[in-house]
Structures are given as C-alpha cells and as structure tokens.
C-alpha cells in the first residue's frame, strides 16, 4: 500500500509546488476548506480542470431511490446522498481573450499552500497564455470558522511582461456537470442536476441563486458580494439566470498593475424556512461578512485556530513528517466538525462525496475521542445531532421489533440509508458507540447539563435496545445473536465480542445514569428496577472464548472457520471486497478491520495481559486492513501489548492515509476517521490514554524512533498536559481547582494544579512482534 506523498516536510503547512493534472482530485480533498457547515473542495479558482467540483453544505442531500432486487420488509426504499450545491468558488479569467486554463499555454510556476494556523489556502501561479501574455495570479481562500455561512476569496491578477486586457468573471454555478460514477461501491454516486430553480437575482456587485432539491425538498440559497480594487477603469456587469449568476469585470492592466477582488459567498439551506426567510438569512450573512471585511475574516480565523492549537497541539519529536501529518489530520478533523451544529460529521467530512456524504459509526468511535479532548463544544454538538435523531431511531427500533432506539448505520438526515442490511442495520454496535461517546464526553467535559439530559436519553434508549435485542439462554447467559461486528468481512454472527462488551458497558453506563438522574429518568419511564435488569444482562453477557486456541473468537464459531488462503491471494486482489464475494469472505478467517482488537482497545479491563497478547497476535495474522479504520486500533493495541515499533508503523499508516493516498481514493474525500484515529493512535496508543470509569489512565511508552511525545487532554473541564520521553512521563494539571487522581502504568497518582509530576516508565519486553498476512504489514517507520 503506497501512494503518492504530499509536498515538502514543514511544521505548519501543506505545500504543492507543481501542478499534476492526474493528482488534482487528491489535492482537491487535501486542500478542501470547511467549517463543518460549508465545505469547498480545493478546486482551482477557474473551475477546471478538476477531479470533482465540490461545494457542500452539511445536511444538504438528495434522496436516491434504491429499487430492491428482491424487496424485504424493513429495507429502506431510498438512500441519501450529499449533493454538490451551488458553486461560489468560481472565478474565471480571460487574458487578451484567452481563457486562463492551465491545460493550455504554459504554467511557468505554481504553488498552493494550506496554512494550518491561518486556516487559508494560498495559490500563486505564473502563466503564459497561448498568445504569449504572461500574468501572475494570486488567490487566498478561506471558509470561516467564525462566520458559519461564509466563505471568501481574495483574487489578484497582474500582467508581468506587457499590457493585458483582462476580464474576471466571478460566478455562482448550480447543477454543475459531475464526473461519471466509478464501479467502486465505496465511491458516491453523483446525483445529476439535483437542484430545481426557485429564484435568482443580481444587483450592483452581488447576486443570489435559490434552488430546491427535487425529492428531499430542501431549499438552498447561495449569494455573493464583491469588493474590487483596480488602478484603472473597470467595466462592470452583473447578471443572473436559473443556474448561473455572474459578475464580469473588464479592465486593461499595465505590467505591475493589479486588479484585486474580494468575493464573499454566503450559504444557507433549510427544510422548513420559507423562501423570503432563507433569502434574508443569506443576505444577512453576506452583510455581516462585508462588515468584518477581508482582513477581519482573516484575523478571526487566525484567532479561532490559535485557540484550537492551544488545546489540540501535539508534539512528536523525532519524526517531522508525522509531526506535520498529525497537524494536517487535526486540522481536517476540526474542519469536519467545528460548526456542524446539529448536523452529522460525515465519513469524508465535507471534502468529497465518498460514501455519499453519509455519517457512520466512525463519528463516535474514531472522531469523538479527539473532539472530546480538543474541541469539546463540537463533541457536544455532534452528540446533540444524534440526540436530535432520537425519534427516528425510536421509530426504526419499533420497525425492527425492538425497544429503545436503533440508530442508522449510515445516514445524513437520521433515517437508515443502508441498502445491504447484513453490513448495515445488523451492525447494531453503532448504538453502543454512541452511548460510549456520550458517556465519555459527559465524564471528560464534566458537562452535567448534557449528562442529565441528552446523555441520559441516549444511554437509556440504547440500553433498552440491547436489553430487547439480547436474550437469556438456558444456561443463564445473555446472548446477542445474529448481528454484525465492526469487521465487515464477517456478518450476522452470534455473540460478537466487541458488540457484547460494548453493549455491556452501555447497559452499565445507562444504569449509572438512571441512578444519578432519577428525575429525568422518570420522564423516560426508566427507573432503578429497569436499570437492575440492564445490570443483570450486563453481568450475564456471553463472551465466547476458544479454550483450544486460548483466544477469543471475534464471534461464536469464528476460530472454527476456514483460514483465508493468503498464499493464493495476490496483492492486486486487495481490497478483497472488490475481488471476492461476501459469501466467501464471511465464512473464512479473514478480517477487514480491527474487531476483537477494537474490543481490546475499548474494554482492556476485560482481558488478561496474556489474552491480550495472544488475541493480538492471532488477529494480526488474519487482518488485512482493507478499511481505513483499522490501523489506528492496531496501533493502540500493539502499544498496549508492548510492540511499540509495530504500533508506530501503524501510527504512520493512519496519519499518512490521505497524505500518501495509501488507498488511491483520497480524491473521493479524506478519511476523517483515520485522521482522527491518527491522534488516537498517538494519544491512546503511545500515550496509553483510556477512560476507566470517571478516571483517566495513561501508560505512555515511546517507540525507538521518537524522543518525545507531548499532548494535552481534557480532564473534567480542565486540561492535563502529558509529556513523555523514553524514560519518564511528566503530568501537569494546568488549570486551578481540586486535585485529581489519574493512573500511570497501573499506579494511582494524585495531581495538584500547577505542580508537575514526573514518573518513570517501566520497561517492557513483548518478545518478537506478531506478523501480518503476506504483503499486509504496515510500512516500517523505525
């Protein structure tokens, strides 16, 4: 698994120094700007060439009918797919009547830089037109973290060698033509022309287009306004039509003269609001942006990111590439979630249409642990989004004959959108993931208001789901049969260990929540008696164990299944799902992604050290990592069992997933969960962070490659700084207040505010590292 690496190593930026048309798609994802509400792919200002043009609004989707091959009760009849909304990024340029298009003429120089602290994407290009005019184009683009609806561009054009007639066309384009779908099921289907015109208007320097989606009936408005600076006279024309609005500026520039334009673009959508209300909302946002002005937006952006890096900063001494990549990863996790506010965090963020822009369990299991520690308000918002879909999840549970709430496997609106239930609805573990996330957030952020309200609701309704989904067998064991665990190369199995252990935690956390908040619980008709039933089920939970092999089967019967014939599997047969039928994958011992290993990541308390080591070695040998969600978990458990260099190899894979385009699909959007997982791989893995009841435990240990790892985490509303070297760890409780007890390599340690504590790191010898299937070892980073 190797792809093409991004530009030079530097601490706070991603730089592209040469434009390769074949890599446009990858860079569009890498250079995507987003704030969790608006997302702009890193398309060139002039719109083409492109990999995929992309402008997204979180929650703005179109329904896509799923005509069933063989209909069955309870299968959804349509799915939801994120659509390409009206594109406000486009600024076309004509130089002496030649369109600025890097496919023609000569591109003398090209550079794009994503600045991770400023939160802007810069571009500078020198281009010689086919007729010989040389111009320099500079643009800077941002999607504002502080003004949720706003994106803005400063665009500048300057002739270099001779006088040039220039025309700048700044546009809004709806229903852009999109590239054809590929055969890869994981890529999203492009929905063609999803927008139906409602209104358009142009006046002075501004214009607006309003549309509505055909089936989902969502209303969309995108508006633009401009500020122009130019030494000479500028001819100016603005117009609008159904799917196009355009401001045209024409002027003549001498060498050294510059036409500069700032374009503010405001976005809005609504399911409920009327035409005039949405019109006003978007125009209002535009006015606010103009009031702040370009410089104001830049300053706000920098200030927002300074606060973010203050909390999310992580120092990786000894590996500059990983240092850079993990900042890139955190930046994109932020971009996916910062201002989502009541909307999901999709698997690809707002960087591309992979997985149809749907959100999955990734959010809670791989992204939330980062947000809880770095952007807790975004973590809370993400949980409130889930909570907002609780009624839909309750309905879905009823439809499935279950109690409580059954959250969808994939969705935008909250409705189940999975067309293949064995790897969709049957993956009930997503419900435990949501519960885990709610409990973790409430504990770490000490957000009692949330805990007593949304948190309680989520815990209670998911606990009810588990209680109704499982049943007691003749021996008194509580079984959960016929479900699908995280590993998508198995399905519909009995007593999946991950599912059962996560359900067990879910039942216990819910019981505790009911005990703590009896009043709100009563409103849900939950009480101590019901909670006692949950605790009993948790206590009786069946956890299969294979005595013969001394390992846990990931689900009942797994270790009796046939071994996958790795020797007969060529490297080009990966990912296996594109070359083998599910039927074949399901019945054999081949693992797409951490499953039992994920159980050990989240519930290390349930395994002895020996079991942990044996299990890890057993599943390493059978795990092919055809999912981007695996490397981080393997890093975490490798570190837990003492294989630190292997853990670090997996850190590298997680953090470089999109950086190196390891899966050749970064053009469909970034792997947000893998990027979040990269942080987890470092902090949970090398740092040994885990939630243990209300306490945090750490077990830092560095691989040979690293000299120092430093990060901060949230701890009941305060921040704890952790610095680890090869020999010792230093803990500093940064804010005032009471003392706090943590666990360091198994020992309880009391931390007083402002008083650092240094503790030695016990040595470990885990023996020889486990092996992976042939050709599936991670790239060494030693």
């Amino acid at each position: 698994m190797t792809g093409q690496s991004l530009g030079p190593v530097e601490p706070w930026a991603v730089r592209e120094t040469e434009l390769q048309v074949s890599r446009l798609g990858q860079y569009e994802s890498v250079f995507a700007l987003a704030n969790g509400h608006v997302g702009w792919r890193g398309n060139l200002d002039e719109g083409e060439p492109h990999g995929t043009p992309g402008s997204y609004l979180n929650g703005m989707y179109e329904q896509r009918p799923m005509p069933p091959a063989e209909p069955a009760y309870g299968n959804p009849e349509s799915s939801e797919t994120m659509i390409n909304v009206t594109n406000g990024k486009i600024i076309r340029l004509l130089v002496d009547d030649e369109p600025f298009d890097i496919r023609y003429g000569t591109l003398r120089s090209h550079e794009r830089v994503l600045d991770l602290r400023a939160g802007v994407l810069d571009r500078e290009a020198e281009w010689v037109s086919p007729t010989g005019s040389t111009v320099r184009v500079r643009s800077r683009r941002l999607v504002s973290f502080t003004q949720r609806a706003i994106a803005a561009i400063r665009y500048e054009i300057e002739p270099i060698t001779e006088r040039a007639r220039v025309v700048v066309q700044s546009e809004l384009v709806a229903n852009e033509e999109l590239p054809q779908e590929t055969g890869d099921p994981r890529a999203a289907g492009a929905v063609n022309s999803p927008l139906v015109h409602e209104a358009d208007e142009a006046r002075a320097d501004s214009a607006i287009l309003m549309h509505r989606t055909r089936l989902s009936r969502l209303r969309l408005a995108v508006a633009m306004d401009h500020q122009v600076q130019c030494p000479g006279q500028v001819r100016h024309h603005v117009e609008s039509r159904h799917d196009l609005a355009r401001l045209t500026l024409s002027t003549v520039l001498q060498p050294g003269e510059r036409l500069a334009m700032v374009k503010f673009v405001a976005h809005g959508w609504s399911q409920a609001r009327s035409w005039p209300a949405l019109y006003d909302q978007v125009e209002g946002a535009l006015a606010t942006a103009a009031l702040a002005g370009w410089e104001g937006l830049l300053a706000e952006q920098r200030e927002y990111l300074d606060r973010f890096w203050d909390r999310a900063g992580i120092e990786v001494d000894g590996d500059d590439e990983v240092q850079q990549a993990v900042r890139f990863a955190l930046f994109h996790v932020l971009q996916a979630s910062a201002r989502a506010e009541g909307r999901p965090i999709p698997a690809k963020g707002l960087t591309g249409t992979g997985y149809d822009g749907n959100a999955f369990w990734d959010t809670e299991i791989f992204v939330m642990p980062v947000l809880v520690n770095t952007v807790p308000e975004a973590a809370a918002a993400a949980l409130r989004w889930r909570h907002g879909t609780l009624d839909l999840a309750r309905q879905r549970a009823r439809e499935l004959g279950l109690a409580g709430a059954a959250f969808p496997w994939r969705t935008i609106s909250g409705r189940e959108c999975s067309g293949y239930w064995p790897a969709g609805t049957a993956a009930f573990h997503i419900n435990a993931g949501i519960a885990e996330s709610a409990a973790a957030y409430a504990g770490v952020a000490a957000d009692e208001e949330f805990e007593a309200a949304e948190g309680l609701d989520l815990l209670v309704e998911t606990a009810r789901l588990w209680r109704s989904l499982g049943h007691y067998d003749a021996a008194g064991g509580f079984r959960i049969d016929g479900v699908t665990g995280p590993d998508e190369y198995s399905a519909i199995a009995d007593n999946n260990v991950y599912t059962n252990l996560m359900a067990q935690q879910n039942l216990r956390d819910a019981a505790r929540a009911v005990h703590r908040h009896p009043g709100r619980a009563a409103a849900l008709r939950a009480n101590e008696q019901e909670a006692a039933g949950w605790l009993a089920a948790a206590q009786a939970m069946v956890i299969p164990f294979d005595e013969r092999l001394g390992v846990h089967p990931q689900a009942e019967g797994f270790t009796d299944h046939e071994e996958w014939d790795f020797a007969a599997t060529a490297q080009q047969d990966y990912p296996l799902l594109l070359h083998f039928p599910y039927f074949d994958l399901y019945r054999k011992q081949v693992v797409k992604q951490a499953d039992l290993v994920l159980a050990m990541q989240f519930r290390p308390d349930c395994f002895t050290a020996e079991q942990m080591a044996r299990n890890f070695a057993y599943y390493e040998r059978r795990t092919v990592r055809d999912s981007s969600l695996s490397a981080c978990s393997q890093a975490i458990v490798a570190a837990e069992v003492g294989h630190l260099d292997l853990a670090y190899d997996y850190v590298g894979e997680a953090v470089l997933m999109d950086w190196d385009d390891l899966r050749h699909d970064t053009s469909n959007g970034l792997h947000i969960a893998a990027l979040g997982g990269a942080w987890m791989a470092l902090v949970w893995g090398l740092g040994g962070l885990r939630r243990q009841g209300d306490q945090l435990r750490f077990a830092p240990r560095l691989p040979a490659r690293l000299e120092r790892l430093a990060f901060t985490v949230a701890l009941r509303g305060r921040r704890l700084r952790v610095e680890a070297t090869r020999l010792a760890a230093r803990y500093l409780l940064m804010n005032g207040g009471e003392q706090v007890e943590i666990i360091h390599h198994g020992d309880r340690v009391v931390l007083l505010p402002g008083e650092p504590v240094s503790l030695p790191i016990p040595p470990v010898d885990a023996g020889p590292a486990p092996v992976q299937p042939p050709g599936r070892a991670p790239v060494p980073r030693r």
Copy 2:
C-alpha cells in the same frame, strides 16, 4: 390458512359452474393448459376481463437490470423474468355490434371444465347481450402434449332466441398491457412491452407475428391458422400489423345455426436461429397440426394422457376430495414438465409469472421424485437441462472461488438471477438436490447411458463443489460454514444439517459413480484418488447435535437462539417475511419451512428413531409453513414417526394448496412443487417410499380416514404396484425380468414378476401428536 375451494368433487375433472370476476386470477392458473413448452393461462377466449393475461414459452425471458443499492463483487447485475409472449388465445365476438363481454349484458349460464383425462378445457356460456340477443358460446381448448409447439381452440357460436349478426375476430396480440405489480416480493414484476417487432404477415386464413426481446435478444414467432364451418355466407378478412394479427369472420346466424371455427396456434422461439429458419419452423408446425386436424389432436392428447395415468395413477379410497385434488396435482406436474426438453421446470410451471417464472431447487427436490416414478423421460429431460447449464455453473463456481459447479439459486437461462445472496447463492444445498435427483433417476430408471454421462458429470462437479466449499477443522471434522439451508428464516449459518447430510450423500454418490465409470470420469480428470478425498470428507462431515436438548440444531447455534414470540404474533402477521425484517427472523428460532425435517426426509438413515421423534416434535413447534414447500415434508416425516393423522392433515394442505388457494396467491401461478409434494406426501409419507442405495424401501401405514392407498412406482425400468390397507400391504412387480428385493417396514422381501406378495403392517403408537405454533396447525382431515 383458508382460501376458496374449487368446484364440485368428481374424480377426473375440475369444474367451475359460476363465473366470479374476483376469482378470475385463481381460475386462470387452475385452468392453465401447458405442455412444458407452451403455457396458456385459463383466460377467457375474449381476453377480458382477466386477472393476468398469460401466454408463455418455456425459456423465453427478458433480462431485468438489478441496480444494486450497494454493489458487491459477484452479485448478478440483471435477473431474468418470464415474459408474456404473443397471445394466440384471443377470439373476440360481436353480437349485433355488442362485444361479448361478461361484464355487460347478462351471463345466463357459465361452466368451465378441465378434463384431466382428455387434457382439454371446455367452456359453455349463455349470454344475453345488452340489446337482448341471446347466444350460446362453446369453446374447447388444448395445448398439445404430442405436438409441442401447438395449441388449438374449437370455438362455436349459436344464437338461441333470434337471428343475430355475429362477427368473430381471432387474434394474435403482442405486448399486451399487463396489470400493475403488487408490493409482494414473491409476485413477479411485469415486464412492459418486452417485444420488438421484426415481421408480420397475413394471408388467407393464417397470420404470423415475429418479434425479438429487447435485452435478451431472443426471437419469437407465433402463427395462427383457421378452419371455419358455417351454414351461411361468411365474410372473411385477414390482416397484420406490428403487434396485432387478426382474422375477421362476419355472418348472420339464425337460431340453431352455428358458426364453428378451429384455430391452430404454433409457437417458436430461438436464441440462435435466423428469422427465416424460425418462420419456417412455426409455419411447419402449423402445417403438421392442420394435417392432424382438430379431431386428430384430441385423439393424440387422450392417448398421451392414458399412458400417463396408467403410470401415475394413484387411488385414495376414503377421501374423494383428495383423490380429485391429487389427480389435478399430477396433471399440472405433467403440464409443467412433459415437453420442457432442455428447458427448466419453473416454480409456477407455465401457469403464471410468480417468482418471475424462474426455476429453483423445487424442481429437483419436490418435482423430480414424482417425475422419476411417473414420467421418467421428463425427469431425464429436466436433468439434461441442468446438465446443459453445467458450463455456466462451472463459471459461477470459479467466480465464487470454488471448484466444480455452483448451480444458480434461481434462473431461466442457467445464470444466477438472485439479487439477495444470503437467501440465494448461499443456499448451496441446491447442488446436492441436483445430485440427489440425478442419482435417484439413474437408479430408479436404470438409465445407464444417463448415469455414465450427464449423471456422472453432475455428480462429479457437485462433489468437487462441496469438497472446496468445506474444510477440515482442528478436530478433523469436515465443516461447511456460512451457507443457507432450506429454511429461509435463517441464513449464513455453519454446518446446516440438511446441507451437510445432502453434501455427504452427494460426495458418496459421486465417488461411486467414478468407481463405476472410470473412463468417462477420466475425461473429467476425476479418479479414485479424488473420489477417496470425497469419501473422507463425507465420513468426517460435522453434524451438530444439541446434547442438552437431545435434538439436532438445524445449524450450529440454532437451538441457542431466542424463541420466536408466537404469543405476540397475530395471524395476520403471516407470512412473517412481509411483516418482520430478515434480521429479526434470522436470529430467532422460527422456521419458515422444513429444514432439519427435510434432512430427516432424505436421510432417515442418519437419525435414530428417538432422535427422529424428538427432532420432529421440536421443529413442529417452531415451523410456521410460510413456504408452500413445507407441508409435504412435514407429512412425510410425521408419517415416518407414526403420527399418521397429522401426516394426513399435511397431505391435505399440500394437495389443496391451489385448490383452496390457501396462500391467496394462486392467481400468480400454481405451486408446482407443492403439487408434486402432494404426491410425495402420499407415496413417501403414507407409503414410506425411500431410496436406500439401489433399493427401494416402503413402510406403508394409513391414517384413520383412509381405507386404501394404491400407486405404482418405477423400479429399475420396471413398475411396482403397491396397495396398502390399514392392515396389510400388497406388492406386485408388474413386468417380467429378474426378481427384485425391496424393504417392507425394515424387512427384506423378494418380489417375483407377476406374483403379488401381501405383508402385514406392524402397528404403531407414536403417542400424542406434536403441536404447532398457535394458529399454524394444518386443517384437520380426520
């Protein structure tokens, strides 16, 4: 489960004495005429009103794209659906310019009779037109068993009270408008206007329409010719267009005068043959039919059926309704298969478009046992059809990563057409069903030519499939994991007992075939060494047993699953698949249809008497019979364990499935497998017939209701007549030749040709009968 019963009880006919528009669909299926190649639903001559117009040619299908909700490797991209071909049945009538339509005017009398010995459908109606003219219409229709391409109608019109101007329009109609699809997944989708015009021609009394299907590119030709008798002058006009050909006859008839017309309709289709070749073929068939003439066709039909009833006759003394219904059942089994010759026997025969006209495992497991004993040449043809698809099945096995051949779960052409693989491709047991059928046919018919050729190929390639599908576990057991057994309320389970026992038999039969025919085996590169591997796998086959309960789980883990909450299930919630998601059904102990019970039916040698009784009682309590394929197996095993009255209740259900429209879907076509199953329920069930190696065993026992049961079966090319009363059984080897050994209630008995042997039937006391889920007991017939 009760529907609406058919007409009066009589031994050799089905009679409709009153026309109910609401039951048109049921009667169209019941009165369908077919010969396995051409099928005509029992539509009224004048075409409407109708339930579903239907004219079918076996193998004539259109492809239907299956756009996947979530594509996956190995899923078929299109399915095949039997189409309504050019309709040659239509004869419209105008009486004094009023169209004869029973929805208008007054239908003074109506009778239709399906004559099971003559093989014709008669109709007689007296109708008063809205303007007061009274006419009598008589028609007789046949689909010829002896002339495969031919159907014919004799149509007669006679005014009763006064002189009438009559116009008779005899038509061919292509691309008829079809009723809308329902929401029931088991009903077929109508493919609208599947036929593209290629040619049409009309001359003298004949006409032809030629079309081609749009996607499957199959060529179709239907032609008609007429012979007219009339006392007066007849004006005559023939014409043809793209989708219509018409002969128009006009005359004036006095009361008592009759216009009589014989219409011959010839059918042909081909994937390969040219336009002129098919044209000639159909015109040639028409010429042959005209040569035989109407009376000739009738005589041939009667003669063919006399031979059939001679072999298939079964006498059920004590229950005239079952006597009538089982003859009806046998007649339709014959109609589905008689002249299929190289084409499948679809689940609904050629009586309707249910299940898209696809063939399933039903053919081999529920229909072939009847054919082997009654129409062995049709049994051989059905197996030759499977054999003809062997290359496609080999390709499919390769696609699935398996050796040998993997036959499709549902198909018309031989390609896999299942859109839901867990209940399609994963049901590998169909391959063992085909092997069982091939071995049974070869043994019973003593067809050594077949055994050494097609039979060997089928056995070897299916044995190879099993050998590659299963694997040896650590304890040396041979496991078959992740497959779906017959019960469609479970899927993707390990070591399904039915599958494993049938695979075991398949492996053994294949090894024996290789041993017997080493030459032909060598051509398949099969030898004793490979066969030894099959025998070893068969010997090591894992058969799970639940020691705690003392029963066999139908697959591993089944008896640990949650019990279905029958108390909370209303009768209108059946069939469960329309009201509960598969997810819920799969993980609970609820059984759609005989699975472990079917294993006991086919492999009684693998169960002790106590296991058989305990297993039967266990699964009776959990089997809901939402499939029409279940009652006959439950009858057979109920009889085996001595519950004869319960067995007979199930006989009643199987044989009356369509008679009483028990499932309210007879209008979509008859349940051919249930009709075949009815014969099996009597002969395998009450007669106790089983194949035991090359021997036949019998264990006849009658329920209280019956006085006598008599039937004949094939025995190595000869016929054996079996007559059972409550006390004794009488065996008579009817043809000359060597003596034969059979088994009667466990004892070996030698039969000499022409010398009947009477043997007492040992008494049985099976104790109280097992119970079924609430409301799911069969209707008592005691």
